[in-house]
C-alpha cells in the first residue's frame, strides 16, 4: 500500500529523512513515534506529498510519487490527512467542511454528499453539530470533524499527524476512540503520536525514529517490552517514568 525505498530528504543542510525503507500493508495500523525533530512528521507528510522527497522511491497505492506524470491531486483524494491543528475551514459550517471535497472533486450531488457527511458525523458522534461553525466547537470536537472530513472522500489510507497533541487532556480520549473504531473497520492507518497507550492497544506495528532514521520497527509488545536500540530505551524511559515505570506498557 505504501512502500518507501531508500528515501532521503533534506531541509537545506538538515538531513531530515535518512535512507527510509518501510512497507505498510493494506489494513495495517502503523504508529510512528520518536522525539521532537526526529523526522516523523516529515515522514508522514511525504506520503501525500505535502513534502516532496529528494531521493529514493515512494509508491503509494500503486502510484509512484517520484514520477512527474503521477496526478498528485488524484492521489491525495485517496488519502485522508488529519492535522495536529485540525485546520478546519473557519468560514464554513461543519457539514460544508465535510462535503466540499466530494462535491467539488467527485461531483457528488449536494444532497447525496450531505447524507454521506451525516453518516460520518454520526460515526464521530457529532450529528447535532452539522450547522455549527468550527470556532463553536471544542478542540476534541473539531478534531473529530476533521477526521470525518478526511473520511468523506472514502480514502484508502488515513494519515494522522499528532492528532491529539494540541488537545486538552480530557479531550484526547474521544479522538483516540474514534481512531480506534476506524482501525477496527480495516482502514490502513499511519499515525504519528506520543500516545503510547494507543500504540499498544491499536497498532499492528510501531516504528521508532530518531534524527531522520528509522531505528526500530517492531510489534507493539516487542517494542514496549524489549526495545532493542539504546535510544528507544531512553525515549520510553523519559516518556513513561516516573509516573508508571519503564515497563508500564509491557504486560
Amino acid at each position: 500500500m505504501i512502500q518507501f525505498t531508500g528515501v532521503h530528504k533534506w531541509f537545506k543542510q538538515l538531513h531530515v529523512l535518512n535512507d527510509i525503507n518501510l512497507h505498510v500493508t493494506p489494513g495495517e495500523v502503523m504508529v510512528v513515534c520518536g522525539p521532537s525533530g526526529s523526522g516523523k512528521s516529515t515522514l508522514i507528510r511525504t506520503i501525500n506529498q505535502l513534502e516532496p522527497i529528494d531521493q529514493g522511491s515512494l509508491v503509494v497505492d500503486d502510484m509512484d510519487l517520484s514520477d512527474k506524470k503521477t496526478d498528485i491531486n488524484k492521489l491525495r483524494a485517496e488519502i485522508g490527512f488529519v492535522f495536529q491543528q485540525f485546520n478546519l475551514y473557519p468560514h464554513l459550517t461543519v457539514i460544508n467542511n465535510i462535503t466540499l471535497a466530494p462535491i467539488k472533486i467527485r461531483n457528488t450531488p449536494k444532497k447525496e454528499a450531505e447524507e454521506q457527511a451525516m453518516q460520518l458525523l454520526i460515526r464521530v458522534g457529532l450529528a447535532e453539530k452539522r450547522d455549527a461553525y468550527p470556532a463553536q466547537l471544542s478542540g476534541g470536537q473539531q478534531q473529530r470533524v476533521a477526521i470525518a472530513r478526511g473520511l468523506a472522500m472514502r480514502p484508502k489510507i488515513m494519515l494522522f499527524d499528532e492528532p491529539t497533541s494540541a488537545l486538552d487532556p480530557e479531550m484526547i480520549g474521544e479522538v483516540l476512540q474514534v481512531m480506534q473504531d476506524l482501525a477496527k473497520t480495516g482502514m490502513t492507518m499511519v499515525v504519528v503520536t506520543h500516545e503510547m497507550g494507543f500504540a499498544r492497544e491499536v497498532a499492528h506495528r510501531v516504528v521508532f525514529m530518531d534524527a531522520g532514521t528509522i531505528l526500530e520497527e517492531a510489534k507493539p509488545k516487542d517494542f514496549f517490552c524489549n526495545p532493542q536500540h539504546e535510544r528507544a530505551k531512553q525515549f520510553l524511559n523519559q516518556l513513561l517514568t516516573p509516573m508508571h515505570g519503564a515497563g508500564a506498557l509491557c504486560d
Partner: protein, 232 residues
C-alpha cells in the same frame, strides 16, 4: 460684511460644484469625482486581485514579472502615471476622452497597491488551510477560490477601504489634465470670482472629508456585518 456672507459664492455655484453642467452638458464636480473614484475602484479591485494572485504564484516566471510590474508602478508618482496615460493612450488608440485616461491611470496605480493588500491577505491565512484543502484532493486554484480567498477577502476589507479613500482624494489630480472634477470646478469658480479663494477651497476640503468619512463609516459597518466567529 460678515465672513459668512462670503460663502454666498458657494450657494450661488452649488449645483455646478455638485454636478457640473450635467444634464445639459458633461457631468462635473462631485458627481464626476465620485464617478472617477467608483469606476477606478471597481476596475482596480479586479486588477489588484489578478495582480495579487499572480504575485503569489508558485511559479517564478509568473511571480517575478508581476512583482517587477507592481514595484515599478508603485515607484512612480501618480501624477506621472496620469501624464503617461494622457499622452500614451491617444498615441495608441487615437482620441480617448480625458476622463477615461484618468480612470486608466488611477486603475493602474491603485491596482498595484491593491495587489499588495491581496498578497498580504492571502499570506495572512495560515499555510495549514492550504495544506488541509489540497490534502483532500482539491487543486491549488480550487483551494485558493473556495478556502483561501473567502477568508482573505474579509480580512482585506479595511485595507481596501483605505485604498478607496486615497483613491477619492487622488481623483483631484485629474484637474491637471483638464478633467472637470471637484478640484477643477473649484479652480474654475475661483478664477471667475477672484475674491473668495479661502471659502472655495475650504468648502472643497469639507466635501472631500465628508465623502471619505462616509466611506470609512460604511466600511466599519460592513466589517461588523461580515465578521464571522473567529477561532476560540
Amino acid at each position: 460684511m460678515s465672513i459668512l456672507s462670503n460663502f454666498q459664492v458657494i450657494a450661488d455655484n452649488f449645483t455646478y460644484f455638485m454636478i457640473g453642467r450635467w444634464p445639459a452638458g458633461p457631468l462635473g464636480g462631485v458627481g464626476l469625482t465620485l464617478y472617477l473614484a467608483v469606476v477606478s475602484c471597481i476596475l482596480s479591485f479586479f486588477g489588484g486581485l489578478i495582480l495579487g494572485l499572480l504575485s503569489v504564484s508558485r511559479h517564478r516566471w509568473i511571480s517575478w514579472p508581476s512583482m517587477l510590474f507592481i514595484n515599478t508602478v508603485r515607484g512612480v508618482p501618480l501624477l506621472m502615471v496620469i501624464f503617461w496615460m494622457y499622452f500614451l493612450l491617444p498615441a495608441l488608440f487615437g482620441k480617448v476622452p480625458e476622463s477615461q485616461t484618468v480612470i486608466m491611470a488611477l486603475t493602474l496605480f491603485t491596482s498595484a497597491y491593491m495587489s499588495q493588500i491581496v498578497r498580504a491577505g492571502i499570506e495572512g491565512i495560515g499555510t495549514g488551510q492550504m495544506e488541509a484543502a489540497v490534502s483532500t484532493g482539491l487543486k491549488h486554484w480550487q483551494a485558493m477560490y473556495y478556502i483561501i480567498l473567502p477568508q482573505g477577502l474579509r480580512n482585506m476589507i479595511p485595507s481596501f477601504v483605505n485604498q478607496f479613500v486615497s483613491l477619492i482624494k487622488d481623483t483631484s489630480l485629474a484637474f491637471i489634465v483638464g478633467v472637470s472634477e471637484l478640484t477643477h470646478v473649484g479652480t474654475q469658480i475661483n478664477n471667475r470670482t477672484m475674491a473668495f479663494p479661502t471659502e472655495i477651497f475650504f468648502f472643497i476640503a469639507v466635501v472631500y472629508f465628508i465623502l471619505c468619512f462616509a466611506f470609512t463609516s460604511l466600511s466599519r459597518w460592513l466589517e461588523q456585518r461580515l465578521a464571522w466567529r473567529k477561532a476560540i
